[in-house]
Symmetry: D3
Subunit: 193 residues, 6 copies
């Protein structure tokens, strides 16, 4: 794992990690071709590593939101919070899942400029409001999500993903996690479909 | 479980919940004398319930921070985020763990007014900064924590608790979770030690 | 009077105060069972003490707003300004006048979560806007108050109470006034009516 | 009195006012050559009129701060709060008391640009901080005032004037009080001393 | 040229300036009766002087907006940015072009209080929003300008003037440019039309 | 020129443009291999086009700042202002001039995370402060730039570039200018030096 995965805490050796962490990290490394630095960074504290990735997995696995919708929320929230790690790493995931080489740069800058349907604008309106001024989020905001066509449980999930990345952004910023160089370019080639 | 535990999503029946949720909820109910509404609220989605409480348990169980230090961070962060549920429920926990009937009201209002040692002022300076302006948190903030006497891993934990309650506050505010009436008064009687 | 009534200026002895201050303070002490610290704190400067309480008395005595409506404005404004003294002392008064043990904690955190009629939501919308962004308060805000059923003079009074507690909060925060311990628990027992 | 003294409440007739208001207003009119609109505006509610001007008089009469120091605080606070009435009316008073035709325009814009001694910069640093972020005002701010040469009671007075104009600005903005045309030009001629 | 035209960079001698600068400055001095300090300040760097005044001239010369409309935008933007130089210098120009001795003080304080038609309120709504929160400016804001009666090109010009004075304010504040004393009083005498 | 170069005003045909615009645009197109959309967008109004690019050219041509230093300021300012066009277009220029494929993504997110020398941190501290809170920029900020090794004229230039892009960002956001697709990927390949 990259010693420079984060700057404010030491990055452990893969060999010193508990079995379950090592297995998952090897699996991710296999899949991506490199070890995403968030796996290396959180490994500083295995109990937090497990909690973090279990929560993450619940959010992306147990939902009827499309994966690219989840990543849209993440990148819009991270853009507003100014999180370098999440902008770049989830920007790459968004380009891949949405098959759109431009969308991530739009959401990092200002989701209002993005080339997305009205339904997703509404989704990001609420995600960003919950990030910036949670005190003002009201029943009317949830109603807008329902009116846009999201199911009740999807409304919950939109709130949950937005909330989780308010944790995630802060941990990445607190520890100064650094995105792998690969993330900067992944998914930038144009798609044909 | 209280139907009014949260206002924007339906609260499930205890009997309809998976075994593992039911057991833990019954245990908590036994201990507290009532079911804290956050357990009822998150049960709307069992996969998130598990992820949320596992993360919470990792934060309070696997740390050398004292439990009242953890609750101080939680209440200061929740005060800044204006989270009604967390102010009141964790305010009660703080009164109990710190054996201090006044501290929670101080932290909800303005942690700078609290009757706490310099070390804890520094801890809350960083927790609140990570909450309000994470983009400005720097190595010098972490150094202040080390200089105040916190170990490297405790510094991580302070960041982790602060980050997690930026998730927790947002979920409680998004779902409009309501603190149990009991929390408003718990731990308000003066202590003798 | 409590030496710890405020932290940044000396608290005078009751015996050294002018006759009119002493009489009123003894009267208040009689009524409450203790001397509210704001009376002790402002006594540092008798001319300001008189001006402050005369203004306060005009606001609560010469109005057709109910006293619990006045206290609702005070606690919502103080919550937004993060004033420890006023949150706690007027929180107690609100619990007593509104005969509601929960309302103060709701308003301190976020008035939007409070269990109150629409009319009072509108009242607090304007009080909080006048506190946070007075530059944006317009004729339309006053019209909303009139539409909610407040008389012209009550509209004035809502503005006046909100404005006065923007003074009061700042003096309490500047001098670091400390709420009496009694205020933390007063009015927290449930009501039957 | 000018019907256009304020825009959101009716301005009463001088003849309909209680004796004590009428006398003072006539006195002020005599002195200034016109009736300052704040006297007309507050007369809407005589009990508040009395409370407001008594408080104001205590602030300017019972202090060892120079009158132009008091007006400097008022204009800097009003500039930050964007209060049209107070910028203009107290801008005129400041020009007269400070015998400086430029200072008011400097303080309305940005007190940091003003041609004033370091002692007054410190005074306005605290006045503006208490206006914008009272939650952050600490003992160190009061110490800076003491170090700059202000007596303990003057420190109190600086806090008191700043706080009072956070009331005053809000009432003027709420009622949309309009400065008399005379105030725009008073004291703009250069001085010789 | 006034040595005190700006405080943070040296003001060059008129005689040392390139021919084209000198000619224009002499022309302006002729017209105004004094050399406006912005001409002296920008002369520190002739290439920027030319760029700045060419841009300025394009904005005021190639537009169907009335000159007093242009100056209204400038003063409202400068008021929000708290720019001492622009408040005072363009305040004077606005008084002259609008033949209104009060309007500049209204716009410096809070454009919402100004005695102007609805069309100009809308114009300033957009100018101030583009200044304070450009990230939120949307197609609907431009539509409001069109609905208010501005032509497509005038909409562009409103955006352009607002944007340019976000440059201009910052340069004046960075260099601490000082308005000429004459600007404080120009145009303050009442008009008869 | 791309019809989609901006969304809120029509993009003119190259053939309809005045000679001087056409020549420069053909030159730029030659050099870049495509017409950067800002040239197409500003061509809506030729007088503004000329003013804008003349100012831009003065900033990058008449300075002893390195071109990559200029682009660092631009990208940091644009990141803070959330300008999609400038983030992406100047991000590409920065990658090319700095021969650094990662720096632009760092500056867009949070310049404090960037891998740059202390001197450039100081430069961006001031550029971002002048962008976000110009009212607070003081002589001490300019002194920090001098202490970091910038000449007096370079200090001016840092202020000037920061100010100009507060104009540029706002025009791009007002007109909804869209970065050419090429900008998203330019300069992302690693360098060898």
């Amino acid at each position: 794992m990259d010693d420079d995965a984060m700057r404010r805490f030491p990055v452990p050796d893969l060999d010193d990690l508990p079995e379950d962490l090592r297995e998952r990290i090897e699996e991710e490394t296999e899949r991506a071709g490199f070890t995403p630095n968030v796996f290396a960074g959180f490994a500083y504290k295995p109990s937090h590593w497990r909690a973090f990735f279990d929560y993450h997995d619940a959010l992306v696995d147990d939902t009827t939101l499309e994966r690219h919708e989840v990543e849209m929320i993440i990148v819009a929230v991270s853009g507003v919070n100014h999180c370098y790690y999440c902008n770049v790493a989830h920007g790459a995931l968004l380009r891949i899942y949405a098959k759109d080489p431009l969308l991530a740069d739009q959401l990092v800058a200002n989701y209002r400029t993005a080339d997305i349907p009205e339904k997703h604008k509404t989704m990001l309106d609420v995600a960003v409001k919950l990030t910036e001024t949670p005190v003002e989020v009201g029943e009317d905001d949830l109603q807008k999500l329902r009116d846009a066509g999201f199911s009740e449980e999807e409304v919950w999930d939109i709130g949950a993903v937005s909330s989780f990345f308010n944790l995630s952004n802060r941990m990445a910023m607190f520890a100064d996690m650094r995105p792998n160089e690969e993330f900067h370019t992944l998914g930038r080639e144009p798609h044909d479909d």
